[in-house]
Protein backbone atom coordinates (compact mmCIF):
# COMPACT_ATOMS: atom_id res chain seq x y z
CA UNK A 1 0.00 0.00 0.00
CA UNK A 2 1.07 3.49 -0.72
CA UNK A 3 0.53 5.76 2.26
CA UNK A 4 -1.49 8.91 1.71
CA UNK A 5 1.37 11.37 2.21
CA UNK A 6 3.27 9.73 -0.58
CA UNK A 7 0.62 10.19 -3.28
CA UNK A 8 2.31 11.68 -6.32
CA UNK A 9 4.62 13.46 -3.97
CA UNK A 10 6.84 14.76 -6.74
CA UNK A 11 4.12 15.61 -9.26
CA UNK A 12 4.05 19.14 -10.62
CA UNK A 13 2.11 20.95 -13.33
CA UNK A 14 4.18 22.67 -16.01
CA UNK A 15 4.05 24.19 -19.47
CA UNK A 16 6.44 21.95 -21.38
CA UNK A 17 7.93 23.11 -24.65
CA UNK A 18 8.07 20.66 -27.55
CA UNK A 19 11.76 20.29 -28.38
CA UNK A 20 11.37 17.70 -31.10
CA UNK A 21 8.60 15.70 -32.71
CA UNK A 22 9.60 12.92 -35.13
CA UNK A 23 7.58 10.24 -36.83
CA UNK A 24 9.10 6.81 -36.15
CA UNK A 25 7.16 4.14 -37.99
CA UNK A 26 3.55 4.46 -36.87
CA UNK A 27 4.55 6.39 -33.72
CA UNK A 28 5.69 9.86 -32.85
CA UNK A 29 8.75 10.31 -30.72
CA UNK A 30 8.28 13.61 -28.91
CA UNK A 31 10.77 15.37 -26.65
CA UNK A 32 9.65 18.00 -24.11
CA UNK A 33 11.59 20.50 -22.05
CA UNK A 34 10.41 19.81 -18.51
CA UNK A 35 13.14 21.36 -16.41
CA UNK A 36 13.06 20.04 -12.83
CA UNK A 37 10.33 17.49 -13.52
CA UNK A 38 12.82 15.22 -15.28
CA UNK A 39 14.82 14.45 -12.17
CA UNK A 40 11.78 12.97 -10.43
CA UNK A 41 10.78 10.63 -13.28
CA UNK A 42 11.27 6.90 -12.75
CA UNK A 43 10.70 4.08 -15.24
CA UNK A 44 6.98 3.25 -15.23
CA UNK A 45 5.79 6.75 -14.30
CA UNK A 46 3.55 8.60 -16.67
CA UNK A 47 2.58 12.17 -17.46
CA UNK A 48 -0.93 13.55 -18.07
CA UNK A 49 -1.28 16.01 -20.91
CA UNK A 50 -4.02 18.51 -21.83
CA UNK A 51 -5.05 18.03 -25.45
CA UNK A 52 -6.90 19.93 -28.13
CA UNK A 53 -5.85 23.50 -27.40
CA UNK A 54 -7.87 26.39 -26.03
CA UNK A 55 -11.12 25.78 -27.92
CA UNK A 56 -10.97 22.07 -27.20
CA UNK A 57 -14.08 19.97 -26.66
CA UNK A 58 -11.76 17.36 -25.08
CA UNK A 59 -12.00 17.99 -21.37
CA UNK A 60 -9.79 15.20 -20.07
CA UNK A 61 -6.04 14.79 -20.02
CA UNK A 62 -4.34 11.92 -21.79
CA UNK A 63 -1.81 9.70 -20.02
CA UNK A 64 1.51 8.80 -21.62
CA UNK A 65 4.21 6.55 -20.24
CA UNK A 66 7.56 8.27 -19.96
CA UNK A 67 9.92 6.70 -22.47
CA UNK A 68 13.05 8.43 -21.23
CA UNK A 69 13.89 11.25 -18.87
CA UNK A 70 17.18 13.06 -18.65
CA UNK A 71 17.66 15.67 -16.02
CA UNK A 72 20.49 17.42 -17.73
CA UNK A 73 21.04 18.22 -21.34
CA UNK A 74 21.61 21.24 -23.54
CA UNK A 75 18.01 22.36 -22.86
CA UNK A 76 17.83 21.41 -19.16
CA UNK A 77 15.68 18.51 -18.03
CA UNK A 78 13.69 16.76 -20.73
CA UNK A 79 11.42 13.78 -21.15
CA UNK A 80 10.56 11.73 -24.21
CA UNK A 81 7.27 10.07 -25.11
CA UNK A 82 6.28 7.56 -27.76
CA UNK A 83 2.79 8.38 -28.95
CA UNK A 84 0.55 6.37 -31.25
CA UNK A 85 -1.78 8.70 -33.19
CA UNK A 86 -4.97 6.86 -32.32
CA UNK A 87 -7.93 9.13 -31.58
CA UNK A 88 -8.53 12.85 -31.27
CA UNK A 89 -6.22 13.57 -28.36
CA UNK A 90 -3.17 11.64 -29.44
CA UNK A 91 -3.50 12.88 -33.03
CA UNK A 92 -3.56 16.44 -31.75
CA UNK A 93 -0.45 15.82 -29.67
CA UNK A 94 1.38 14.24 -32.60
CA UNK A 95 0.53 17.31 -34.70
CA UNK A 96 2.16 19.77 -32.29
CA UNK A 97 5.15 21.59 -33.67
CA UNK A 98 8.50 22.30 -32.09
CA UNK A 99 8.18 25.39 -29.91
CA UNK A 100 4.58 24.81 -28.82
CA UNK A 101 3.89 24.67 -25.08
CA UNK A 102 1.97 21.73 -23.67
CA UNK A 103 0.24 21.60 -20.28
CA UNK A 104 1.69 18.59 -18.49
CA UNK A 105 1.31 17.04 -15.03
CA UNK A 106 3.85 14.53 -13.83
CA UNK A 107 5.55 12.36 -12.95
CA UNK A 108 2.51 10.36 -11.89
CA UNK A 109 1.87 6.85 -10.63
CA UNK A 110 4.05 4.05 -9.41
CA UNK A 111 7.33 3.01 -10.99
CA UNK A 112 8.86 -0.39 -11.63
CA UNK A 113 10.41 -1.93 -8.54
CA UNK A 114 14.03 -2.89 -9.02
CA UNK A 115 15.46 -6.08 -7.50
CA UNK A 116 18.00 -5.59 -4.74
CA UNK A 117 20.18 -8.43 -6.08
CA UNK A 118 21.42 -8.85 -9.64
CA UNK A 119 18.55 -11.01 -10.89
CA UNK A 120 17.82 -12.26 -14.39
CA UNK A 121 15.02 -10.11 -15.76
CA UNK A 122 12.71 -10.43 -18.72
CA UNK A 123 11.11 -7.26 -20.10
CA UNK A 124 8.05 -7.71 -22.28
CA UNK A 125 6.48 -4.94 -24.32
CA UNK A 126 3.56 -4.81 -26.73
CA UNK A 127 3.24 -1.97 -29.28
CA UNK A 128 4.12 1.39 -27.74
CA UNK A 129 4.16 -0.52 -24.44
CA UNK A 130 7.84 -1.02 -25.05
CA UNK A 131 8.38 2.68 -24.32
CA UNK A 132 8.94 2.59 -20.55
CA UNK A 133 10.98 -0.62 -20.73
CA UNK A 134 14.13 0.87 -22.22
CA UNK A 135 14.68 3.23 -19.32
CA UNK A 136 13.98 0.32 -16.99
CA UNK A 137 16.50 -1.84 -18.87
CA UNK A 138 19.16 0.77 -18.30
CA UNK A 139 18.48 0.92 -14.57
CA UNK A 140 18.49 -2.88 -14.32
CA UNK A 141 21.70 -3.15 -16.34
CA UNK A 142 23.39 -0.63 -14.08
CA UNK A 143 22.33 -2.75 -11.11
CA UNK A 144 24.09 -5.71 -12.69
CA UNK A 145 20.96 -7.54 -13.78
CA UNK A 146 20.74 -9.66 -16.89
CA UNK A 147 18.11 -8.03 -19.12
CA UNK A 148 16.32 -10.00 -21.81
CA UNK A 149 13.69 -8.21 -23.81
CA UNK A 150 10.88 -9.42 -25.99
CA UNK A 151 8.81 -6.99 -28.01
CA UNK A 152 5.71 -7.87 -29.94
CA UNK A 153 3.13 -6.21 -32.12
CA UNK A 154 0.61 -7.11 -34.78
CA UNK A 155 3.13 -6.41 -37.52
CA UNK A 156 6.82 -5.50 -37.91
CA UNK A 157 6.27 -1.77 -38.37
CA UNK A 158 4.47 -1.47 -35.05
CA UNK A 159 7.35 -2.67 -32.91
CA UNK A 160 8.96 0.28 -31.24
CA UNK A 161 12.61 -0.63 -30.68
CA UNK A 162 15.06 2.19 -31.35
CA UNK A 163 18.72 1.30 -31.78
CA UNK A 164 19.97 3.18 -28.75
CA UNK A 165 17.37 1.42 -26.63
CA UNK A 166 18.93 -1.94 -27.37
CA UNK A 167 22.25 -1.12 -25.77
CA UNK A 168 21.24 -2.20 -22.30
CA UNK A 169 19.77 -5.49 -23.39
CA UNK A 170 21.42 -8.92 -23.31
CA UNK A 171 19.00 -10.39 -25.83
CA UNK A 172 16.19 -8.97 -27.87
CA UNK A 173 13.44 -11.18 -29.29
CA UNK A 174 10.77 -9.87 -31.62
CA UNK A 175 7.39 -11.42 -32.30
CA UNK A 176 4.69 -10.39 -34.74
CA UNK A 177 1.16 -11.69 -35.11
CA UNK A 178 1.55 -11.74 -38.89
CA UNK A 179 5.09 -13.12 -38.95
CA UNK A 180 6.44 -10.09 -40.79
CA UNK A 181 9.46 -10.08 -38.51
CA UNK A 182 10.83 -12.21 -35.67
CA UNK A 183 8.79 -15.07 -34.29
CA UNK A 184 5.39 -15.60 -35.86
CA UNK A 185 2.65 -15.46 -33.23
CA UNK A 186 1.50 -13.76 -30.07
CA UNK A 187 4.11 -12.47 -27.68
CA UNK A 188 2.91 -14.80 -24.92
CA UNK A 189 3.71 -17.89 -26.98
CA UNK A 190 7.40 -17.03 -27.02
CA UNK A 191 7.74 -16.35 -23.32
CA UNK A 192 7.93 -19.81 -21.67
CA UNK A 193 10.93 -20.74 -23.80
CA UNK A 194 12.68 -17.43 -22.98
CA UNK A 195 12.06 -17.88 -19.27
CA UNK A 196 13.62 -21.31 -19.37
CA UNK A 197 16.56 -20.36 -21.56
CA UNK A 198 17.43 -17.23 -19.59
CA UNK A 199 16.55 -18.54 -16.16
CA UNK A 200 14.33 -15.51 -15.70
CA UNK A 201 13.74 -14.48 -12.09
CA UNK A 202 11.60 -11.34 -12.56
CA UNK A 203 9.22 -10.32 -15.34
CA UNK A 204 8.36 -6.74 -16.23
CA UNK A 205 5.67 -6.04 -18.78
CA UNK A 206 3.80 -3.22 -20.45
CA UNK A 207 1.22 -3.38 -23.20
CA UNK A 208 -2.41 -4.18 -23.91
CA UNK A 209 -4.41 -5.71 -21.04
CA UNK A 210 -4.91 -9.00 -22.92
CA UNK A 211 -1.17 -9.44 -23.20
CA UNK A 212 -0.58 -8.58 -19.55
CA UNK A 213 -3.19 -11.10 -18.54
CA UNK A 214 -1.53 -13.87 -20.58
CA UNK A 215 1.86 -13.03 -19.12
CA UNK A 216 0.46 -13.06 -15.60
CA UNK A 217 -0.74 -16.60 -16.12
CA UNK A 218 2.68 -17.72 -17.33
CA UNK A 219 4.43 -15.91 -14.46
CA UNK A 220 2.14 -17.70 -12.05
CA UNK A 221 2.93 -21.08 -13.64
CA UNK A 222 6.65 -20.42 -13.35
CA UNK A 223 6.16 -18.82 -9.93
CA UNK A 224 8.08 -15.70 -10.91
CA UNK A 225 7.25 -12.18 -9.71
CA UNK A 226 5.59 -10.12 -12.45
CA UNK A 227 5.34 -6.36 -12.44
CA UNK A 228 3.09 -5.01 -15.14
CA UNK A 229 2.15 -1.50 -16.18
CA UNK A 230 -1.60 -1.51 -16.79
CA UNK A 231 -3.54 0.87 -19.00
CA UNK A 232 -7.07 1.75 -17.90
CA UNK A 233 -9.07 4.76 -19.11
CA UNK A 234 -8.17 7.63 -16.82
CA UNK A 235 -10.22 10.78 -16.34
CA UNK A 236 -7.97 12.61 -13.88
CA UNK A 237 -4.66 10.73 -13.61
CA UNK A 238 -4.17 12.05 -10.06
CA UNK A 239 -6.40 9.80 -7.97
CA UNK A 240 -9.55 11.89 -7.48
CA UNK A 241 -12.10 10.39 -9.89
CA UNK A 242 -12.07 6.59 -9.40
CA UNK A 243 -12.53 5.83 -13.09
CA UNK A 244 -9.21 4.06 -13.67
CA UNK A 245 -9.69 1.22 -11.24
CA UNK A 246 -8.35 -2.31 -11.61
CA UNK A 247 -9.82 -5.23 -9.65
CA UNK A 248 -7.35 -6.82 -7.22
CA UNK A 249 -7.68 -9.69 -4.78
CA UNK A 250 -8.48 -8.70 -1.23
CA UNK A 251 -9.22 -11.51 1.28
CA UNK A 252 -11.27 -13.45 -1.23
CA UNK A 253 -13.13 -10.33 -2.22
CA UNK A 254 -12.65 -7.80 -4.97
CA UNK A 255 -11.10 -4.45 -4.33
CA UNK A 256 -10.96 -1.77 -6.98
CA UNK A 257 -7.68 0.10 -6.83
CA UNK A 258 -6.79 3.19 -8.81
CA UNK A 259 -4.31 2.44 -11.54
CA UNK A 260 -3.17 6.06 -11.61
CA UNK A 261 -2.02 6.02 -7.99
CA UNK A 262 -1.56 2.38 -7.02
CA UNK A 263 -0.49 1.82 -10.62
CA UNK A 264 0.21 1.86 -13.47
CA UNK A 265 2.91 -0.56 -12.27
CA UNK A 266 1.20 -3.27 -10.27
CA UNK A 267 1.85 -6.79 -9.07
CA UNK A 268 0.46 -8.99 -11.84
CA UNK A 269 -0.41 -11.77 -9.40
CA UNK A 270 -2.74 -9.51 -7.43
CA UNK A 271 -4.85 -8.37 -10.35
CA UNK A 272 -8.04 -10.27 -11.14
CA UNK A 273 -7.71 -10.73 -14.88
CA UNK A 274 -10.90 -12.70 -15.45
CA UNK A 275 -13.50 -10.09 -16.38
CA UNK A 276 -16.40 -12.44 -16.00
CA UNK A 277 -15.66 -13.25 -12.39
CA UNK A 278 -15.44 -9.53 -11.66
CA UNK A 279 -18.77 -8.83 -13.31
CA UNK A 280 -20.37 -11.73 -11.49
CA UNK A 281 -19.05 -10.51 -8.17
CA UNK A 282 -20.15 -6.92 -8.74
CA UNK A 283 -23.59 -7.64 -10.19
CA UNK A 284 -24.62 -10.91 -8.62
Amino acid sequence: MITPQKINRSAIQIQAEVLSNKKVGPYHHIVFAVDKMAAACKPGNFVAISVGGEQSALVLRRAFAIYRASDKGPMGGSIELVVAPHGQGSKWLCAQNVGEFIDMVGPLGTSFGVPTTNANTLLIGGGYGSAPLFALAEVLKNRGCRVDMVLGASTAGKIYAPLEGKRSVSSLTLTTDDGSTGIHGQISEAIPRLIRENATEVIYSCGPMGMLSAISKIAMEFDIPHQCAVEESMACGIGVCMTCVVPVKNDGEIKMVRSCIDGPVMDGSEIIWDRKSVLDALHP
Binding site: Q13, V59, I238, V240
Partner: protein
Protein backbone atom coordinates in the same frame (compact mmCIF):
# COMPACT_ATOMS: atom_id res chain seq x y z
CA UNK B 1 -7.37 47.94 -6.21
CA UNK B 2 -10.07 47.76 -3.60
CA UNK B 3 -10.37 44.59 -1.59
CA UNK B 4 -13.05 41.96 -1.87
CA UNK B 5 -15.09 40.35 0.85
CA UNK B 6 -15.08 36.93 -0.72
CA UNK B 7 -16.80 35.07 2.10
CA UNK B 8 -20.14 33.31 1.78
CA UNK B 9 -22.63 31.55 4.00
CA UNK B 10 -24.58 28.33 3.76
CA UNK B 11 -27.06 28.14 6.61
CA UNK B 12 -25.21 29.06 9.80
CA UNK B 13 -21.76 28.38 8.39
CA UNK B 14 -19.35 30.86 6.89
CA UNK B 15 -16.78 29.97 4.24
CA UNK B 16 -13.76 32.13 3.45
CA UNK B 17 -14.44 31.93 -0.27
CA UNK B 18 -17.22 30.45 -2.41
CA UNK B 19 -15.20 27.97 -4.48
CA UNK B 20 -15.65 24.37 -3.31
CA UNK B 21 -14.73 21.03 -4.78
CA UNK B 22 -17.62 18.89 -6.09
CA UNK B 23 -18.44 15.61 -4.45
CA UNK B 24 -16.75 12.68 -6.14
CA UNK B 25 -14.31 14.92 -7.95
CA UNK B 26 -11.78 15.46 -5.19
CA UNK B 27 -11.95 12.19 -3.26
CA UNK B 28 -11.26 13.16 0.36
CA UNK B 29 -8.78 15.86 -0.47
CA UNK B 30 -5.46 14.12 0.05
CA UNK B 31 -4.63 13.77 -3.63
CA UNK B 32 -5.30 17.45 -4.36
CA UNK B 33 -3.27 18.54 -1.35
CA UNK B 34 -0.24 17.50 -3.37
CA UNK B 35 -0.95 20.47 -5.63
CA UNK B 36 -2.13 23.13 -3.14
CA UNK B 37 -3.05 23.48 0.54
CA UNK B 38 -6.73 22.69 1.05
CA UNK B 39 -7.10 25.82 3.18
CA UNK B 40 -6.98 27.77 -0.08
CA UNK B 41 -10.48 26.71 -1.08
CA UNK B 42 -13.84 27.52 0.47
CA UNK B 43 -14.56 23.90 1.32
CA UNK B 44 -13.82 20.39 0.26
CA UNK B 45 -16.98 18.41 -0.45
CA UNK B 46 -16.07 14.77 0.03
CA UNK B 47 -17.05 11.88 -2.21
CA UNK B 48 -20.51 10.62 -1.23
CA UNK B 49 -20.04 8.13 1.58
CA UNK B 50 -22.32 5.18 2.30
CA UNK B 51 -22.86 3.08 5.38
CA UNK B 52 -20.68 0.19 4.18
CA UNK B 53 -17.56 -0.10 2.04
CA UNK B 54 -18.56 -0.32 -1.59
CA UNK B 55 -16.74 -1.73 -4.59
CA UNK B 56 -18.59 0.33 -7.18
CA UNK B 57 -19.17 -0.57 -10.79
CA UNK B 58 -17.06 -2.60 -13.18
CA UNK B 59 -14.91 -0.79 -15.73
CA UNK B 60 -15.04 0.95 -18.13
CA UNK B 61 -16.38 3.59 -15.82
CA UNK B 62 -15.94 6.60 -18.01
CA UNK B 63 -16.29 7.93 -21.50
CA UNK B 64 -15.29 11.31 -22.79
CA UNK B 65 -18.07 13.18 -24.60
CA UNK B 66 -18.07 16.53 -26.45
CA UNK B 67 -17.12 19.11 -23.79
CA UNK B 68 -17.99 16.61 -21.11
CA UNK B 69 -17.72 13.10 -19.79
CA UNK B 70 -19.84 10.25 -18.55
CA UNK B 71 -18.98 8.45 -15.34
CA UNK B 72 -20.41 5.45 -13.63
CA UNK B 73 -18.32 4.98 -10.54
CA UNK B 74 -21.24 3.55 -8.58
CA UNK B 75 -20.27 5.28 -5.34
CA UNK B 76 -17.12 3.27 -4.63
CA UNK B 77 -15.91 4.14 -1.18
CA UNK B 78 -14.60 2.92 2.16
CA UNK B 79 -17.87 3.18 4.11
CA UNK B 80 -18.64 5.59 6.95
CA UNK B 81 -16.51 3.83 9.59
CA UNK B 82 -13.24 3.95 7.70
CA UNK B 83 -14.12 7.43 6.44
CA UNK B 84 -14.57 8.80 9.96
CA UNK B 85 -11.47 7.00 11.11
CA UNK B 86 -9.10 8.05 8.33
CA UNK B 87 -10.40 10.79 6.09
CA UNK B 88 -12.01 13.22 8.51
CA UNK B 89 -9.06 13.32 10.94
CA UNK B 90 -6.69 13.87 8.02
CA UNK B 91 -8.83 16.73 6.70
CA UNK B 92 -9.16 18.25 10.16
CA UNK B 93 -5.42 18.03 10.74
CA UNK B 94 -4.97 19.87 7.43
CA UNK B 95 -7.38 22.60 8.57
CA UNK B 96 -9.71 21.99 5.63
CA UNK B 97 -13.31 23.19 5.69
CA UNK B 98 -15.32 20.02 5.28
CA UNK B 99 -18.70 19.32 3.75
CA UNK B 100 -19.52 15.63 3.99
CA UNK B 101 -21.63 14.16 1.20
CA UNK B 102 -23.73 11.14 2.14
CA UNK B 103 -25.63 8.62 0.05
CA UNK B 104 -27.86 5.73 1.03
CA UNK B 105 -29.73 2.95 -0.66
CA UNK B 106 -32.72 3.41 1.63
CA UNK B 107 -34.27 6.25 3.58
CA UNK B 108 -33.07 4.61 6.80
CA UNK B 109 -29.48 4.47 5.64
CA UNK B 110 -29.45 8.25 5.24
CA UNK B 111 -30.67 8.47 8.81
CA UNK B 112 -27.92 6.13 10.00
CA UNK B 113 -25.28 8.22 8.22
CA UNK B 114 -26.68 11.45 9.66
CA UNK B 115 -26.55 9.99 13.16
CA UNK B 116 -22.92 8.95 12.69
CA UNK B 117 -22.03 12.52 11.68
CA UNK B 118 -23.86 14.41 14.42
CA UNK B 119 -21.10 14.21 16.99
CA UNK B 120 -18.16 14.57 14.64
CA UNK B 121 -16.23 17.79 15.19
CA UNK B 122 -14.78 19.73 12.27
CA UNK B 123 -17.60 19.29 9.79
CA UNK B 124 -19.25 22.39 8.34
CA UNK B 125 -22.24 20.89 6.55
CA UNK B 126 -23.78 17.71 5.23
CA UNK B 127 -24.61 17.40 1.55
CA UNK B 128 -27.32 14.81 1.03
CA UNK B 129 -26.80 13.18 -2.35
CA UNK B 130 -30.26 12.02 -3.38
CA UNK B 131 -29.51 12.35 -7.07
CA UNK B 132 -26.76 9.95 -8.06
CA UNK B 133 -27.77 8.46 -11.42
CA UNK B 134 -25.32 5.58 -11.08
CA UNK B 135 -27.52 3.24 -9.13
CA UNK B 136 -29.04 -0.04 -10.14
CA UNK B 137 -32.50 1.38 -10.63
CA UNK B 138 -33.95 4.81 -11.15
CA UNK B 139 -36.24 4.21 -8.17
CA UNK B 140 -33.18 4.82 -6.01
CA UNK B 141 -32.85 8.37 -7.28
CA UNK B 142 -34.74 9.86 -4.40
CA UNK B 143 -34.58 13.36 -5.93
CA UNK B 144 -36.82 12.23 -8.78
CA UNK B 145 -40.00 12.51 -6.73
CA UNK B 146 -41.05 14.96 -4.01
CA UNK B 147 -42.25 12.26 -1.59
CA UNK B 148 -39.03 10.21 -1.65
CA UNK B 149 -36.94 13.37 -1.49
CA UNK B 150 -38.88 14.54 1.56
CA UNK B 151 -38.57 11.15 3.26
CA UNK B 152 -34.77 11.22 2.99
CA UNK B 153 -34.42 14.80 4.21
CA UNK B 154 -36.73 14.17 7.15
CA UNK B 155 -34.73 11.12 8.08
CA UNK B 156 -31.52 13.16 7.98
CA UNK B 157 -33.04 16.06 9.89
CA UNK B 158 -34.33 13.79 12.65
CA UNK B 159 -30.96 12.13 13.10
CA UNK B 160 -28.47 14.88 12.65
CA UNK B 161 -29.64 17.13 15.47
CA UNK B 162 -27.82 20.36 16.24
CA UNK B 163 -27.13 23.07 13.76
CA UNK B 164 -25.16 21.30 11.09
CA UNK B 165 -26.54 22.74 7.83
CA UNK B 166 -28.21 20.22 5.55
CA UNK B 167 -27.76 20.67 1.81
CA UNK B 168 -29.91 18.57 -0.54
CA UNK B 169 -28.28 17.73 -3.85
CA UNK B 170 -30.83 17.58 -6.65
CA UNK B 171 -30.98 16.01 -10.08
CA UNK B 172 -31.71 18.02 -13.24
CA UNK B 173 -33.39 14.92 -14.73
CA UNK B 174 -36.85 15.87 -13.54
CA UNK B 175 -39.85 17.50 -15.11
CA UNK B 176 -39.99 20.26 -12.53
CA UNK B 177 -36.93 20.95 -10.39
CA UNK B 178 -38.64 23.82 -8.59
CA UNK B 179 -41.22 21.40 -7.25
CA UNK B 180 -38.51 19.10 -5.88
CA UNK B 181 -36.68 22.07 -4.39
CA UNK B 182 -39.90 23.21 -2.77
CA UNK B 183 -40.44 19.83 -1.17
CA UNK B 184 -36.99 19.55 0.39
CA UNK B 185 -37.10 23.16 1.56
CA UNK B 186 -40.38 22.37 3.29
CA UNK B 187 -38.69 19.34 4.81
CA UNK B 188 -36.17 21.67 6.37
CA UNK B 189 -32.96 21.82 4.33
CA UNK B 190 -30.66 24.79 4.81
CA UNK B 191 -29.38 24.81 1.25
CA UNK B 192 -29.50 23.10 -2.10
CA UNK B 193 -26.77 21.71 -4.33
CA UNK B 194 -27.57 22.06 -8.03
CA UNK B 195 -26.94 20.11 -10.19
CA UNK B 196 -25.90 16.50 -10.14
CA UNK B 197 -25.02 14.84 -13.46
CA UNK B 198 -27.52 14.20 -16.26
CA UNK B 199 -28.29 10.61 -17.13
CA UNK B 200 -26.51 9.79 -20.39
CA UNK B 201 -25.11 6.99 -22.48
CA UNK B 202 -22.34 6.48 -25.00
CA UNK B 203 -22.33 3.58 -27.43
CA UNK B 204 -18.94 2.42 -28.67
CA UNK B 205 -19.41 2.18 -32.43
CA UNK B 206 -16.55 -0.33 -32.68
CA UNK B 207 -18.02 -2.89 -30.32
CA UNK B 208 -21.57 -1.64 -31.07
CA UNK B 209 -22.36 -1.90 -27.33
CA UNK B 210 -22.72 0.67 -24.55
CA UNK B 211 -19.25 1.92 -23.67
CA UNK B 212 -19.72 1.88 -19.90
CA UNK B 213 -19.99 -1.40 -18.03
CA UNK B 214 -22.97 0.13 -16.22
CA UNK B 215 -24.48 1.13 -19.59
CA UNK B 216 -25.73 4.57 -18.47
CA UNK B 217 -23.64 7.13 -16.65
CA UNK B 218 -23.72 10.68 -15.36
CA UNK B 219 -22.94 13.49 -17.78
CA UNK B 220 -20.81 16.32 -16.41
CA UNK B 221 -18.54 19.06 -17.68
CA UNK B 222 -19.02 22.29 -19.67
CA UNK B 223 -21.58 20.58 -21.93
CA UNK B 224 -24.16 20.71 -19.11
CA UNK B 225 -23.43 24.23 -17.87
CA UNK B 226 -26.48 25.80 -19.58
CA UNK B 227 -28.68 23.24 -17.81
CA UNK B 228 -27.05 24.07 -14.46
CA UNK B 229 -27.47 27.81 -14.97
CA UNK B 230 -31.12 27.32 -15.88
CA UNK B 231 -31.81 25.09 -12.84
CA UNK B 232 -30.08 27.49 -10.45
CA UNK B 233 -31.88 30.47 -11.99
CA UNK B 234 -35.29 28.81 -11.72
CA UNK B 235 -34.79 27.67 -8.14
CA UNK B 236 -33.27 30.95 -6.95
CA UNK B 237 -36.16 32.78 -8.58
CA UNK B 238 -38.64 30.69 -6.61
CA UNK B 239 -36.69 30.58 -3.32
CA UNK B 240 -34.33 33.55 -3.16
CA UNK B 241 -33.56 32.95 0.50
CA UNK B 242 -32.32 29.39 0.17
CA UNK B 243 -28.57 29.28 -0.45
CA UNK B 244 -27.52 27.24 -3.47
CA UNK B 245 -24.22 25.49 -3.99
CA UNK B 246 -24.04 25.65 -7.79
CA UNK B 247 -22.14 23.23 -9.98
CA UNK B 248 -22.12 21.86 -13.49
CA UNK B 249 -19.45 22.51 -16.08
CA UNK B 250 -17.61 25.32 -14.35
CA UNK B 251 -14.12 25.54 -15.82
CA UNK B 252 -13.22 29.21 -15.43
CA UNK B 253 -13.89 32.22 -13.25
CA UNK B 254 -16.28 33.46 -15.91
CA UNK B 255 -18.27 30.23 -15.64
CA UNK B 256 -18.37 30.43 -11.83
CA UNK B 257 -19.54 34.03 -12.10
CA UNK B 258 -22.34 32.89 -14.42
CA UNK B 259 -23.64 30.46 -11.78
CA UNK B 260 -23.34 33.11 -9.07
CA UNK B 261 -25.31 35.61 -11.14
CA UNK B 262 -27.96 32.92 -11.60
CA UNK B 263 -28.23 32.53 -7.86
CA UNK B 264 -25.44 30.36 -6.46
CA UNK B 265 -23.98 31.28 -3.06
CA UNK B 266 -21.04 28.96 -3.67
CA UNK B 267 -19.72 27.07 -6.68
CA UNK B 268 -18.39 23.52 -6.71
CA UNK B 269 -15.82 22.43 -9.27
CA UNK B 270 -16.00 18.87 -10.52
CA UNK B 271 -14.87 17.72 -13.93
CA UNK B 272 -12.61 20.73 -14.44
CA UNK B 273 -10.29 19.32 -11.78
CA UNK B 274 -9.75 16.23 -13.91
CA UNK B 275 -8.50 18.40 -16.75
CA UNK B 276 -6.46 20.59 -14.44
CA UNK B 277 -5.50 19.71 -10.86
CA UNK B 278 -5.26 23.38 -9.87
CA UNK B 279 -8.52 24.39 -11.56
CA UNK B 280 -10.22 25.29 -8.26
CA UNK B 281 -7.52 27.82 -7.40
CA UNK B 282 -7.44 29.34 -10.87
CA UNK B 283 -11.22 29.64 -10.90
CA UNK B 284 -11.20 31.23 -7.46
CA UNK B 285 -8.63 33.81 -8.53
CA UNK B 286 -10.34 34.54 -11.85
CA UNK B 287 -13.67 34.99 -10.09
CA UNK B 288 -12.29 37.42 -7.54
CA UNK B 289 -10.66 39.41 -10.35
CA UNK B 290 -13.90 39.51 -12.33
CA UNK B 291 -15.87 40.68 -9.31
CA UNK B 292 -13.44 43.51 -8.67
CA UNK B 293 -13.49 44.47 -12.35
CA UNK B 294 -17.24 44.83 -12.06
CA UNK B 295 -16.83 46.96 -8.97
CA UNK B 296 -18.29 44.31 -6.70
CA UNK B 297 -16.50 44.37 -3.35
CA UNK B 298 -18.84 42.06 -1.45
CA UNK B 299 -19.25 38.69 -3.08
CA UNK B 300 -22.76 38.36 -1.71
CA UNK B 301 -23.93 41.32 -3.80
CA UNK B 302 -23.34 39.23 -6.92
CA UNK B 303 -25.49 36.28 -5.86
CA UNK B 304 -28.56 36.16 -8.08
CA UNK B 305 -27.73 39.51 -9.68
CA UNK B 306 -29.14 38.38 -13.05
CA UNK B 307 -32.60 38.44 -11.49
CA UNK B 308 -32.42 42.06 -10.47
CA UNK B 309 -33.12 45.34 -12.27
CA UNK B 310 -34.02 45.49 -15.94
Amino acid sequence: MSSLDFSTKIGSKRFSNPIFTASGCASSGQELSQFFPLTEIGAIVTKSIMTKARTGRATPRMAETPSGMLNSIGLQGPGIDAFLENDIPWLVSNSAKIIVSIAGETVDEYGVLARRLRAVPGISAVEVNISCPNVENRGQVFACHPDTAIAVIESVRRNIGGELPIIAKLSPDVTNIVEIAQSVINAGVDGLALINTLLGMVIDTNTMKPKLAGKTGGLSGPAIRPVAVRAIYQVHQAFPNTPIVGMGGVASGRDAFELVLAGASAVSIGTATFGNPTAVLQIRDQLSELLLEKGITDFRDAIGFAHRGV
